[in-house]
Amino acid sequence: MEGNIAEMGQFIGAGLACIGMGGAGIGVGHVAGNFLSGALRNPSAAGDQTATLFIGIAFAEALGIFSFLVALLLMFAV
């Protein structure tokens, strides 16, 4: 077993940071699911709101991407 403690911490930290992406998954699913349930109640109004849907998904996803960034930084930049 080669390596040192700092490298081990780097890998463990990158793995832990990836947990944050699960939160983004919950958020995106919440946005899309609520959009679908609203759209099935009133399909005529749904078409105009797809832009809002994608903006909502993009904002929810941004936080997951921050954790992905932390993982990448730990893996390759530190």
């Binding site: 832009a51 994608f54 903006i55 998904i57 993009a58 996803e61 941004a62 991407i65 921050f66 992905f68 960034l69 390759f76 930049a77």
Partner: protein
């Protein structure tokens, strides 16, 4: 950055991050700012493809459009409607900028899906420049249009108490300056993750021998998903630019 470690001594030395290497197109050597690399080549091909569709494709200006002309018209109409819907009627003035961004990102995302191609938008250096350009442009438009009262964007006057408004102002300022970061990393991260996953599965296919049909089928499915992601990420980048533009044109809550 990636791909410089050892490959663990396995039989198949496909490193999933090797495909993102920027290398000189002619010969080997150091990469300077003027070196023609594979990134340069694929950005040039992106611009050439856009020119082919939008300039050569619509040259006929036929009343009954050809296939290329109707494709160009559909893209034009789609982006124009998006800009007007999200940024309002004044936002239509900035339509050429958003159209350029959308087409560049869409075409380089889709061209990156060709086998052995290089995905320019999976590099934060590329998307970062685009996102910082959007950030600077939008901030400049806000200050030119509204002067110092543009800062009202950070002051949520509909909040009930002053203490709450101060807390919200801090949050708004942070979220404003995080915009270029999330804007660029969303695009680069999605593209990079997708391409890396394809390469990881390709590595499985090499290692499994006869059973490699399973990862190959998975790659086929994932590839369809990647086509979807390529289009959606271009759309998201463009529509977020419209949202930021709308904030600059109509600040205040």
């Amino acid at each position: 950055m990636a791909g410089d470690g050892d490959h663990g001594g396995s039989a198949f030395n496909i490193h999933p991050m090797d495909q993102f290497r920027v290398e000189p197109l002619f010969g080997t050597g150091e990469v300077h700012w003027y070196t023609i690399t594979n990134a340069t080549l694929w950005m040039f091909l992106t611009v050439a493809a856009i020119t082919l569709l939008m300039v050569v494709g619509t040259r006929g200006r036929a009343l009954i459009p050809s296939r290329a002309q109707s494709a160009a018209e559909v893209v034009y109409g789609f982006v124009h409607k998006m800009v007007e819907d999200v940024a309002g009627r004044e936002g239509a003035k900035y339509f050429p900028y958003i159209m350029t961004l959308f087409l560049f990102i869409l075409f380089s995302n889709v061209l990156a899906l060709l086998p052995t191609s290089f995905s320019t938008t999976s590099h934060i250096a590329v998307t970062g420049v685009l996102a910082v350009a959007v950030f600077v442009t939008v901030t400049a438009i806000g200050f030119i249009k509204h002067g110092p009262s543009f800062l009202k964007l950070f002051w949520v006057s509909s909040a009930p108490t002053v203490a709450l408004r101060i807390i919200l102002a801090v949050i708004e300022v942070i979220s404003y300056f995080v915009r270029p970061v999330s804007h660029s990393i969303r695009l680069a991260g999605n593209l990079m993750a997708g391409h890396a996953v394809l390469k990881v599965f390709a590595g499985f296919a090499g290692a499994l021998g006869l059973f490699s049909i399973i990862p190959i089928l998975a790659i086929a499915g994932m590839y369809g998903l990647e086509v979807l992601v390529a289009c959606i990420q271009a759309y998201v980048f463009a529509i977020l630019t419209c949202v930021y533009l709308n904030d600059a044109l109509h600040p205040g809550h």
